[in-house]
């Protein structure tokens, strides 16, 4: 049962990938960038889900996937014209399919009506329907007369299409009956192929059964005997198969070795029969090669080679050359099948922890060696330097394991865009860039909600209604852009719309009405734009279905800040609004400012610090009984002594002998934190205090410094809030004693 559960889990993981591929493909088609291969990829994705679902008895999923697949098949065979409406329908079907997958995995109820309605719609497209699936599966191989001249051999309606393989068929326009197909195969086994007890000869024999075969062996890579690795593989076979062929069958021959060899399969129309003497020559060459290999100690037998059908047919060299070009093109198009493995995230995290410890240990060791008075140029010190480089490199590589491209989250957003566009009756196009930008997996996971909300806002509030857009001289279709890019060790994601921009007078009015700002406050444009992040601010006059889900932009800002990121807004009237998210690449490491307070070493997250300065006597003013403020560029900002708030000392430090760090808190207010001195800027690995102790006020976590000591990481927001709470309590005490 456990094995079954594990297989099922793998199936769902694969479903996620297939769904992503499906959506990606459909979006490409929507942008009119898709070719037949894209449609095939989309078809295969749905088909694989269907196949897997069938194996697990997920009937609802199978049924819907089948209908979907049938329609896609119509699209593939050209019976169903690809119109924007059809693509939209496909995208919505993909959404339902993904819902069905999710429900199959997590349980829950699917809205049967929605599925039924979509099934109907799909059936009505005319391409094919669930009622007559056979109609969509013409028996003879269908040749699509496409500009690219590429087609895929028809896969049996209920059979399993090979998922990861692209077939490129070169079809002559004069589709004469009885034409023979030739398949050119270039097959280069790798040593692994032999190591896994496979044999090239057996494969060649298998191929020989499929049709008439011509084989030539390229032995140019065979080294001199002295340099020959007895377990190496040096031969390449060029095979031309002629006959009534099914590429699927050809692929199947190589099914078990496809990762252990370089293989290219290319189909072309067969030409005239090859000269027999050529064939004989080739066979002779093969025999010579096989003999050579045997001499090299490979366990292979030459005898069966002779069984290869002779006389051998082949396409003329010209046809081969002609087919080489499209083959190359197809190869460059096909996604690189980079070998991947699935690893439990816990194991990766453990590895990251251990490497973090290694780094600390290494620097401790280096420090000890220096303390021992060993010369910098001694072998020990040089060795330690190398060790340091190595450990840093290991750390970077390990961190890279957790990094994932933002693509999946961007793809999820395209669904949000569709749904919100439907709900608001606006026509929206999502443009994404930089999907390959890599960020820590946890960051990606926690970005989904804020991004969803921002996209909703952009469409609901940002973009104008179609008629307003036309009136403003803009195209009816609004554009929402999502761009990710790496910038100086952080990832920056921009979400922008080409809408009307922020209506500043309205925002201001609302802020005044809600008591967020004073009536007579002097606010710059940027400050007004920033108001939408203020807690309790919501621009929708009536709470709409879309944005008004009780979540304001303040929540978005808070969740971004919780990730150690920042969010800013820029808006240009009539041109649109841009939100910019700047996020750390990983949550395990933090850029920190190492400071001294009351003899303790603390780390302040760099993301919170706006600037640091040395207070001057004329800038520090007392305000009330105990509070002090510092004047910076005309504004007065409260001074908070970190040592006092944390209880490290009772008497406030002399501001003139300290350093003030301007910090920005979640509610946009600025404060100046007083610390005794700045040690430096450093990347630190975040360690939890909660694991072995518990939450501590004013502390976000801990880290281990180079000397092996623990340093506390400040929670800036809590410290600012704490100092306010203290002030309020003192006020209350005073009132009480006065009363």
């Amino acid at each position: 049962m456990d094995t079954m559960a594990a297989i099922k889990q793998t199936f769902f993981q694969e479903c996620e990938e297939q769904l992503a591929e499906l959506e990606e493909g459909l979006l490409a088609i929507e942008r009119e960038e898709g070719d037949l291969e894209t449609i095939n990829a989309v078809f295969r994705a749905v088909h694989s889900i269907k196949g897997g679902a069938g194996a697990f008895g997920l009937d609802d999923l199978v049924r819907f996937a089948h209908t979907f697949e049938t329609t896609l098949d119509g699209m593939r065979s050209g019976k169903l014209e690809i119109t924007p409406q059809i693509v939209k329908l496909m995208l919505r079907s993909a959404d339902i399919l993904s819902d069905l997958v999710r429900i199959s995995r997590d349980g829950g109820e699917m809205d049967a009506g929605r599925v039924a309605q979509m099934t109907d719609e799909l059936a009505r497209t005319g391409g094919a329907g669930p009622v007559a699936p056979a109609a969509a599966a013409p028996q003879p191989p269908a040749f699509e007369p496409l500009a690219a001249g590429e087609a895929e051999p028809q896969v049996d309606e209920f059979g399993f299409a090979p998922v990861q393989i692209s077939f490129d068929t070169l079809i002559a326009d004069d589709e004469a009956a009885g034409i023979r197909q030739a398949v050119h195969i270039r097959f280069t086994p790798k040593p692994e192929l032999y190591a896994k007890a496979n044999d090239a000869l057996r494969l060649l024999r298998e191929l020989g059964r499929l049709g008439e075969m011509e084989v030539s062996c390229d032995a140019s890579a065979v080294p001199l005997l002295g340099e020959l690795d007895p377990e190496g593989a040096y031969l390449t076979w060029d095979i031309t198969l002629t006959g009534d062929l099914d590429e699927k069958a050809v692929r199947e021959v190589f099914e078990f070795v496809e990762f252990d060899c370089d293989l290219s399969i290319d189909t072309a129309v067969a030409g005239p029969v090859m000269d027999e003497s050529d064939a004989a020559q080739t066979v002779q060459a093969i025999l010579a090669q096989v003999a050579a290999e045997e001499a090299a100690g490979q366990e292979r037998h030459a005898a069966p080679q002779a069984e290869a059908p002779a006389p051998v047919r082949a396409a003329p060299p010209a046809a081969q050359a002609a087919s080489a070009a499209p083959q190359q093109a197809a190869n460059s198009q096909a996604p690189q099948p980079g070998a991947t493995i699935r690893v439990d995230l816990d194991r990766v995290d453990r590895l990251i922890d251990l490497v973090g410890e290694l780094v600390i240990n290494q620097s401790m060791l280096a420090q000890r060696v220096m303390e021992a008075g060993i010369a910098r140029l001694s072998d020990v010190a040089v060795g330690l330097d190398d060790l340091e480089h190595l450990t840093r490199e290991i750390q970077d590589s390990v961190m890279a394991i957790r990094a994932q491209p933002v693509r999946p989250i961007f793809q999820r957003m395209s669904r949000v865009v569709r749904e919100v566009a439907d709900m608001t009756g606006k026509s929206v196009r999502l443009v994404t860039e930089g999907e390959n930008c890599e960020v820590d997996k946890t960051v990606i996971e926690r970005l989904a909600d804020p991004l969803t909300h921002m996209i909703r806002n952009a469409i609901d509030h940002g973009l104008e209604k179609p008629e307003d857009r036309l009136a403003a001289g803009k195209p009816e279709q609004g554009v929402v852009r999502m761009v990710a890019a790496h910038r100086s060790g952080r990832v920056v994601i921009e979400v922008s719309d080409d809408g009307a921009g922020i209506n500043r007078s309205r925002v201001r009015q609302i802020a005044v009405d809600r008591g967020i700002v004073a009536e007579d406050a002097q606010l710059s444009d940027a400050e007004i734009d920033d108001l939408i992040f203020a807690p309790g601010f919501s621009t929708a006059a009536a709470i709409s279905d879309v944005s008004g889900r009780g979540v304001g932009m303040d929540v978005v800002r808070r969740s971004i800040q919780a990730l150690g990121g920042r969010i800013t807004i820029t808006s240009r009237p009539g041109l649109g609004t841009t939100f910019t998210l700047s996020l750390p690449l990983t949550l395990a490491v933090l850029d920190g400012m190492v400071v001294n307070v009351a003899g303790q070493t603390l780390v302040v997250p760099l993301s919170a610090i706006v600037e640091t300065l040395q207070p001057k006597a004329q800038d520090v003013h007392g305000l009330g009984e105990k509070a002090r403020v510092i004047g910076i560029r005309g504004a007065f900002i409260p001074l908070i002594d970190v040592g006092c708030v944390l209880g490290y000392r009772d008497e406030e430090a002399d501001p003139l002998a300290s350093v003030a760090m301007m910090v920005e808190t979640e509610n946009q207010s600025q404060c100046a934190l007083l610390v005794d001195g700045i040690v430096g800027q450093q990347q630190v690995v975040i360690k939890s205090l909660e694991t072995n102790y518990g939450h501590v006020f004013g502390v976000a976590g801990a880290t281990i410094l180079g000397d092996g000591r623990v340093a506390v990481i400040l929670d800036v927001d809590a410290i600012v809030a704490g100092s306010r709470a203290e002030a309020a309590r003192m006020d209350a005490n005073r009132k009480r004693s006065a009363a």
Binding site: Q600, V645, T691, N692, G694, G698, I704
Partner: protein, 158 residues
Amino acid sequence: MTHAREHDAAANNELIAFRLGSQEFCLDIMSVRDIRGWTPTTPLPHACEYVKGVINLRGAVLPVVDLAARLGFAPVEPSARHVIIITQVGNQTIGLLVDAVSDILTVSSGSIQATPDVASELARAFMKGVIAMEGRMLSLIALDSVLTQNQAGQGLPN
């Protein structure tokens, strides 16, 4: 021999004995992860008096509890001679600051007596029982109550 040991283990407890001032205490050896010399700790803001701070144990950050202060004795002024016993309490790993580790004992469950009915609340809260050993008395510490979640979370300024 092996058989005899197994048999003993069923009925007996292996305890690690340590000193705090003039009194002797002991702990179940199975909860002890490590014993190390005193290293300076990093104090935590607003921590209880008995929480000496946190230390780095092979990459993990764990708190060190001054057991003497926790039991109501005078707080220890730690020196290089003091010892930190790293113990596992539930899911947490904590360090206990003690004067010295004195012995490893094997006692049968039967020889653990109930804590004598003394007035001190603290004594009753932290002792599982007492053991008489060669004319000495060792108190068996109940680790669970040394650093409860409640006390650990006590950090807000008040």
